[in-house]
């Protein structure tokens, strides 16, 4: 059995290597861009009469890496700046660093993703138990079909359908943004109410597109647990339905945590769709807008942060799973 610190260290090393590979990839991607935006800005500034040194510094401020010199020195310089969380400046909003641009979006995304995960987990787990215990009846069949269908519905379709139903046909929720701009920000009733009403539909879109996979996993897991001897023993001992339900649910919940890691990546990826559909100012919208505006430093920062978030979430899910299920605390290489 490996010690926890060692495990954690292994995870961290792997995470850092991954982030390094992604950072390298985006560096070369941006340099491969048609017209090479970095060199283009540098040359434009030189032509406008700026000294080569001044132009180099200005370009460096924008992109976070040097416009001139060998590829290798540019690359090492970029990595060095990355270590200081310096990813250049946004070109769409003047005077704002790319990393702060991204972090503003991140808090909105994380709130939505968390709400979506909790909602879908709760709905999926409960419906999964019902689908498993009633699997020979119409209810079970209907739930299973609903689950696989909702699981298969794309997030943007879900978002657009929700928008159409709840803002056009039956206008009860606002369509746009994260909060009503007319309300005073702060810890007051109307502001919070506005936040909640703006977040309801996006969170619902997350939950509806996610609960299917939880439902299906929970269902098959409950069915396999129902066949276990301890359930029969509990039944023979005459335990009440409620207690038996607790026995079953606790054991059946375990596999749900394995798909937890998968759904987190899916959530952050889907953030792009759902935020764009609702015009919610999270990381996904930041990414799409930065691509639309050819704002490569913000694009790079957003992509790195989304990747880092997914990697960290994966590590957390893995550690959580180890903590919950004693059976997986085994020797050998984890995750191989």
């Amino acid at each position: 059995m490996r010690k926890l610190p060692l495990r954690l260290a292994g995870h961290l090393v792997r995470a850092l290597v991954m982030i390094w590979v992604v950072a390298t990839f985006t560096f070369f991607l941006i340099r491969q861009m048609p017209g090479d935006p970095v060199a283009a800005q540098y040359e434009q500034l030189v032509q406008q009469g700026m000294s080569p040194d001044g132009a180099r510094n200005a370009t460096q401020l924008t992109y976070g890496f040097m416009p001139t010199g060998s590829t290798w020195s540019q690359y090492t310089h970029y990595l060095w700046r990355l270590l200081h969380f310096d990813l250049g400046r946004s070109t769409q909003t003047l005077g704002v660093s790319a990393s702060s641009e991204v972090l503003t979006g991140a808090k909105w995304t994380i709130g939505l993703v968390l709400a979506g995960i909790l909602l879908s987990f709760a709905i999926g787990a409960v419906l999964g138990v019902i689908a498993a215990t009633r699997r020979s009846s119409g209810t079970g069949d209907a739930l299973t079909i609903t689950g696989s269908l909702f699981h298969a519905i794309p997030q943007f379709v879900m978002a657009l359908v929700l928008i159409t139903v709840f803002t056009v046909i039956w206008p009860v929720f606002p369509t746009d943004g994260n909060v009503d701009i007319l309300v005073d920000p702060g810890f007051n009733g109307p502001y919070i109410a506005s936040l909640v009403s703006h977040a309801t539909l996006p969170a619902l879109a997350y939950a509806l597109s996610m609960f299917g996979s939880y439902l299906l996993t929970m269902k098959s897991s409950v069915i396999s647990v129902l066949g276990d001897d301890f359930v029969l023993a509990a039944e023979l001992r005459g335990l009440t339905r409620g207690i038996r339900f607790r026995y079953i649910a606790r054991n059946a919940l375990l596999p749900l945590f394995t798909i937890f890691a998968l759904t987190i990546g899916f959530m952050f990826g889907g953030a792009v769709f759902i935020e764009k559909a609702f015009n919610y100012p999270g990381m996904g919208v930041t990414l799409v807008n930065s691509i639309g505006h050819r704002d490569y430093s913000t694009m790079n920062a957003t992509f790195l942060l989304i990747t880092a978030a997914v990697i960290v979430a994966n590590i957390l899910a893995d550690l959580l799973y180890t903590a919950i299920d004693p059976r997986v605390r085994r020797g050998g290489t984890a995750g191989a």
Binding site: M18, L29, I153, L160, V168, A277, L287, V288, I291, Y296
Partner: protein, 302 residues
């Protein structure tokens, strides 16, 4: 590739006896539940739409500015768009790009994923851990943001490039699953026996291992078609890709851009591609349900 999706309703394919057993089995399983028949019918309909649909309409669809955002009527079954073009025509002509790209991507995923999974699982040792590190990497990187970042360089102008890029970024989970199946299969008696007989690695992998992972792979092919349709339509919906051809994603993007979600005018324009995607997904889900039973006799409810 399209023939994989078509179900042989009524026709008797002239293939080897083992194959015939599969098709007969599929037909029997399909007949058992009407939902499955409906599913295969829906899929066949969409395949026909992608293959022959675009030939039914002129290259440039007629525009009628006086009749924009019209609701469904006799002359325009699904209404018209912001330029007064028939939505049904847009839907049919736009299906080919989406379907072709999704099928190429799914084929790419299945070939690369199965190849890597089989090789890694059978070889074990060094190549295995290197390949699995790469696979972990591919799985962990959030796919959609990656595709968005890549769109600054690649323009996905034709379905082939779109399909290849989607496939190259999406084979991870298939590789991992095929590898773990291979790992358990290689310890089984028949593989031991084949190796004991001195059969070549190529023979063992192709003739012994592949048929055993094939059911999983076939079902994955179907499911990944839906996932890729969703991804590519989504990319066009986001509006970051330039487009020169109409497709479902472009339709959704244009509908949202023209304020259909704000005014509620021309709802059928927005909803038509959405419903098409949902219908196709439903068809494939129902078909996968049937495939599941063909490959897994234990699931049969008698």
């Amino acid at each position: 590739m399209a023939t994989v999706l078509e179900t042989p309703t009524g026709t008797t394919p002239t293939v080897t006896p083992a194959r015939q057993g599969f098709w007969r089995n599929l037909w029997r399983v399909l007949r058992r539940k009407p939902t499955r028949l409906a599913g295969s019918l829906i899929v066949a309909l969409f395949v026909a739409m992608g293959v022959i649909g675009p030939f039914l309409y002129p290259a440039n669809l007629p525009i009628d500015a006086g009749n924009a955002y019209a609701g469904p009527s006799g002359s325009h079954l699904l209404g018209t768009d912001f330029q007064g073009t028939d939505v049904l025509a847009l839907l049919v002509t736009g299906s080919r790009y989406v379907l072709v790209a999704a099928v190429i991507a799914a084929a790419c995923t299945v070939v690369v994923g199965t190849g890597i999974g089989l090789y890694a699982g059978y070889r074990r040792g060094g190549p295995d851990s290197v390949l699995m590190r790469i696979t972990d990497f591919i799985i962990t990187i959030p796919g959609l943001p990656l595709l968005l970042v890549l769109s600054t360089l690649w323009k996905y102008s034709n379905p082939l490039t779109m399909g290849l890029v989607l496939g190259v970024t999406g084979w991870g989970s298939v590789a991992r699953a095929v590898r773990s199946q291979t790992l358990s299969l290689r310890e089984r008696g028949f593989i031991e026996a084949a190796r004991g007989l001195g059969l070549s690695t190529a023979h063992v992998v192709r003739k012994e291992l592949l048929p055993n992972v094939a059911p999983y792979v076939a079902m994955n092919l179907l499911i990944s078609v839906t996932v890729y349709i969703y991804l590519e339509v989504g990319l066009f919906f986001l509006g970051v890709l330039p487009f020169n051809e109409n497709n479902w994603g472009v339709m959704i993007n244009q509908a949202v851009q023209n304020g259909v979600t704000q005014t509620g005018q021309g709802l059928s324009y927005l909803l038509s591609p959405l419903v098409a995607i949902l219908l196709l997904t439903l068809g494939i889900v129902l078909l996968v349900d049937a495939m599941d039973e063909v490959f897994n006799p234990r699931l049969r409810e008698d």
